[in-house]
Symmetry: C4
């Protein structure tokens, strides 16, 4: 698998590859919600109580769905500012995609053991690492500022990298640690993070 030393990547192909991964991960999540098995298939009461038992799983699916939408928005905004894709940028993006691809595992883990500190902790750590890899990609760009489009203000972008640490990894890692106090505090934090990113924009337009 020898590689020619022939410059940079075609941005649109990397975006399509990344979008494919985002679309598949967001879709695979629903496969975790399985049709419940009930004894008497015609009993409405039995099916109703079985469906109500699924509500926590459905809630966690909704959280993950909108979280991946927020990831997509972030990815889209960053890549819109890039002029070219260097090898470094490719591999920092691959590092991000590694964590995104892993999301189905901690989601299912937290869904099955929602009262277990460790499961809730792992979910926050994985999401924190995913958010951190966004920040690491930004710090790489800060050190290689020529990858930005000319229309982007480099100083604003550089400051944004630091803000991204405060807005992403910090709340997730804090949420992970607070699961030691009570798992529900972590749930509230994990739920609040995507909501925060959705609503300002929905109202602004």
């Amino acid at each position: 698998m020898a590689q020619e030393k022939s410059g940079v990547f075609i941005k649109s192909r990397l975006e399509a590859f990344s979008d494919g991964i985002f679309a598949i991960i967001i879709t695979l999540l629903v496969l975790e919600i399985r049709v419940p098995h009930i004894e008497n298939g015609k009993s409405i009461e039995e099916l109703l109580s079985a469906l109500l038992n699924l509500l926590p799983k459905i809630l966690s699916w909704i959280i993950s769905f909108f979280t991946i939408c927020v990831i997509w928005v972030n990815h889209h905004r960053l890549f819109k500012m890039y002029r070219e894709i260097t090898h470094g940028l490719f591999w920092w993006n691959a590092f991000l995609l590694l964590w995104v691809s892993f999301i189905p595992f901690p989601t299912a883990l937290m869904g099955d053991y929602s009262n277990n500190f460790l499961a809730v902790f792992v979910y926050g750590m994985v999401m924190g690492m995913m958010a951190l890899s966004f920040s690491l990609m930004r710090f790489y760009v800060n050190r290689n500022i020529y990858v930005l489009n000319e229309t982007v203000d480099a100083n604003v972008f550089k400051k944004g990298a630091w803000i991204s640490v405060i807005m992403g990894p910090l709340p997730y890692f804090s949420g992970a640690l607070l699961s030691m106090v009570h798992p529900y505090i972590s749930f509230a934090i994990y739920l609040f993070i995507p909501i925060y990113f959705i609503f300002p924009h929905a109202t602004k337009d």
Copy 2:
């Protein structure tokens, strides 16, 4: 995950992301139809009766397949009329994709408990919410008419939003409620809706 305040989305990337989700959901549906297990693998009669038992599942798969095709057609037509993708439009589209991604669950539920009012009711409610999210996206555009291409007649578009409520959510929610009378009335309605959208066009050309 800080987000730069740098304007609108690139339409083609959002279309590709949405198309990816549509293609994956339409393909995952077939995984619900499993190869039957028969005792005597060489018995043609046994395999024939096992395959005939699958006919309702295959019928429900066909309904869902063409329903998602109709969704794709609608999505494609709406996005062809948009000039730019605002944050509001992105999140209303995400709300639509949430319901589309959920379709495999009510499809499997109705397949397993086709005689249970609640299963048939849930299917209609999910499809109704999916159709309603198309209408909600349209009403958002009605309030932000600048997102439309100049070639689109804004008055025709605005009226179309109201027609979309009558053509989409209304029949699905009615179908869901009529499952209280008999599930087969609902089946007929769920089957008729995609057929209605397919045939006028197939004959017109």
Copy 3:
């Protein structure tokens, strides 16, 4: 889900949607080949005999893989000749995609019951319907010849529709019927069809 009456489809988006379905179906097929369970995990002989038992499944997967590649080539060649996508063309394409999406089911059925006439018959019938839907799409174009690019010779194209019936549905339906004589005759036919389409081109260039 009201639809605006605003003309034709954007070809590239329909191609991307179709390609997504082809890529997902070709990839899902491998999930049917499961890791065998052996008693003594360290026994090389036991694992070897378990892997040799998988050879028929692996062969059937290879047949299906290259068949879908041939489908992709055909789809690509036809769409390259189209100037615009009408509603009729969209729905004939959707009919083709319905049969393509169904391929994992008859593949698994034939893999599990390879000595059962009915399983081998069903595989050939589904592949025959898939091939027939290519021909039906072509006959639609024959009746609506304006959808072709100006560079395409309409007379050659029209004759090609008849040839496509002889090259696609006919051998598959014949193979399905010959499974009554012996399933292995059908296997040979199903295997020969994609090989026929691959080798002329591989050698010609």
Copy 4:
């Protein structure tokens, strides 16, 4: 399925089809890591030991993830150099995609029987065949040098085909054979190959 003899393939559609397969394979791999079942759902110790047992599976997933990223990089670089896609190039690419699509099987096999020489041997052989198909595609281009862009130095490209044999299939086949000595030697080789391709680039920029 008659095929018109109308020249070459549209490069972007073949790239999109290939990227779809890469994105799906890289995402399906995570489905192999299943949430462990523990008796006492609230026991942190029990869940911790169950998660630690998954570490080898997670490590093998990480190796496969970055290996497919390296495959994507290679594929992208080669296709950037092609001016047109001939039938021969299409089918050599299909041969490569066959081996890429197969990766989930040897990955799961090696994950389940990591101490069995045969499982570790099969993994290396499949990866070696995948790497060899890159070389075979290059030798095809060497014999049909007109498919290259004018900006590519044909002599450098031709030499690169031989280097690709030394860098790809050779280490994988050697790793497969060395599993006879000890499986861990093979693991180290399989791990080292993607790392070798990642780090020069990450540091260079």
